[in-house]
Amino acid sequence: MKNVISLTSVDFSYQDKPDVLKNISFDVSGGKSVGIIGPNGAGKTTLFLLLCGILKPTAGRIRIMGEDVLYKGFNPAVGYIFQNPDDQLFSPTVRDDVAFGPINMALSQQEIDARIEKALNISGCKELAQRPSHHLSGGEKRMVAIASVLAMEPKIVIYDEPTASLDMRARRKVINLIKSERKTNLVASHDMEFILETCQRVIIINSGKIVARGEAALIMRDKELMENSGLEVPYSLRG
């Protein structure tokens, strides 16, 4: 299948932190879920911010569905779920927040309503619709953040630590959701079992460089590789 995401030799530096990402190249083909793993500060979030056009690579090229990412613009093909939901939820009520993207996409009222319903349903946030988003618990906020991105029906969904602050049931819900949505997903997480369940492939990033990539179970079983990257082999793969 065609590559929907394609990075070629991407470098990135922050003003006060050089070489956060170095020579990153990879492709993701449509409908696949790819896990991005690596220790704290490896550059996962930075990579995602580049992919959705919030940051601009210092060098290299990023293409989504064959087109260059629009820096600081609206890339409707990419949905990004922030690591911290408070950065993402800004509307007075949950429903308003979920509606925000579809309204901006100039859809018909009927279509907007349908999308809101659908997104609230699959994320299990239906009961929260009229609640103010600032009075929700951490886990509830996370699910609303997911709903508000899914309502835009992006082709690619980027999850940045989606299971942080979720209880077992909510975590399970996210797993099922990622598995059932036939989209291209990028998932960063420190929850290795979660990555193993949701992703076919993984990419290990350490200190801004790709150190390994390949089939999830194969890579994550490699004890030496994992430990050198500050990671642990998930329990289910220990022999």
């Binding site: 056009g53 919030i54 409707p76 990419v78 009520t93 009222q109």
Partner: protein
């Protein structure tokens, strides 16, 4: 400390059920009419009207009076100043200080008018969830920019207050107590600084989040307001009061 903006916004009362667009227009007009009254004889009338509005709203009286208390404290010096310096006939003297009739009338006018206006104002704000008020302002054609600013202020005031609350808890847990010394000053300065920095950085991230979802600078607010006959009746009642007020003011 949790600020509760919409604490009583979901009670049931004739004022709560009033379409917010009508409510804002009618009650703002009433406030204007109040501010134009200049006759002492009208004071009881506007006072009673404001109390009736308050009672109709079923807001807890204590809650409103508590909020008025601070303003009352603020007004005391003004009353004293006005009634002892503003010329005209000396009504009586306290020791050597003269109390002027004109000053006293003027302060009475200001005090009653202020309270009546504030009561109506509080009722207007407290009986609608704030986000509905914002949408209503948009619906009655308040400028986009202003509505956007209100909207964000509303949303993010919670984030920052929460942030502040967390920082204070963190301080307390590590044994910090406010005092009048260098250490305290430095700590509080640090809190303000990091709150500002955090707000600034968060504002940038929020801006990104909005761009990612197609925001281009113009807010598209879709509000669902539908007026029914009761809304018109209530508006008519307020309009009547305003007309009476203005008519009396002009004819006297």
């Amino acid at each position: 400390m949790h600020i509760e903006l919409d604490r009583y916004a979901r009670l049931k009362s004739p004022i709560h059920s009033w379409d917010p667009r009508f409510k804002i227009i009618s009650l703002s007009a009433l406030i204007f009419a109040f501010s134009f009254t200049k006759q002492l004889t009208l004071l009881p009338f506007i006072f009673v009207i404001s109390i009736i509005v308050l009672l109709l709203s079923r807001l807890p009286l204590l809650y409103i009076f508590k909020r008025l208390k601070y303003i009352a404290l603020f007004m005391v010096p003004m009353v004293i100043l006005l009634s002892t310096t503003s010329g005209g006939k000396v009504l009586f003297s306290l020791k050597f200080i003269p109390v002027y009739a004109q000053g006293l009338t003027m302060s009475l006018l200001v005090v009653v008018r202020t309270f009546a206006i504030l009561i109506v104002f509080f009722v207007m704000l407290e009986t609608t969830p704030f986000n509905r008020t914002i949408k209503a302002l948009h619906a009655i054609k308040m400028p986009d920019k202003l509505v956007s600013i209100l909207f964000f202020t509303y949303r993010y005031i919670y984030v920052y207050l929460e942030e502040l609350r967390k920082m204070r808890i963190a301080l307390k847990l590590r044994g910090y107590k406010n005092a009048m010394n260098y250490h305290s000053l430095k700590t509080n300065g640090g809190i303000v600084a990091s709150l500002l920095l955090r707000s600034f950085e968060q504002a940038e991230r929020i801006c990104s989040a909005m761009t990612l979802r197609g925001y281009t600078g113009k807010f598209i607010i879709r509000a669902q307001f539908r007026a029914c006959w009761q809304d018109y009746v209530k508006e008519f009642a307020v309009a009547l009061v305003i007309i009476i007020l203005l008519k009396t003011t002009c004819s006297l």
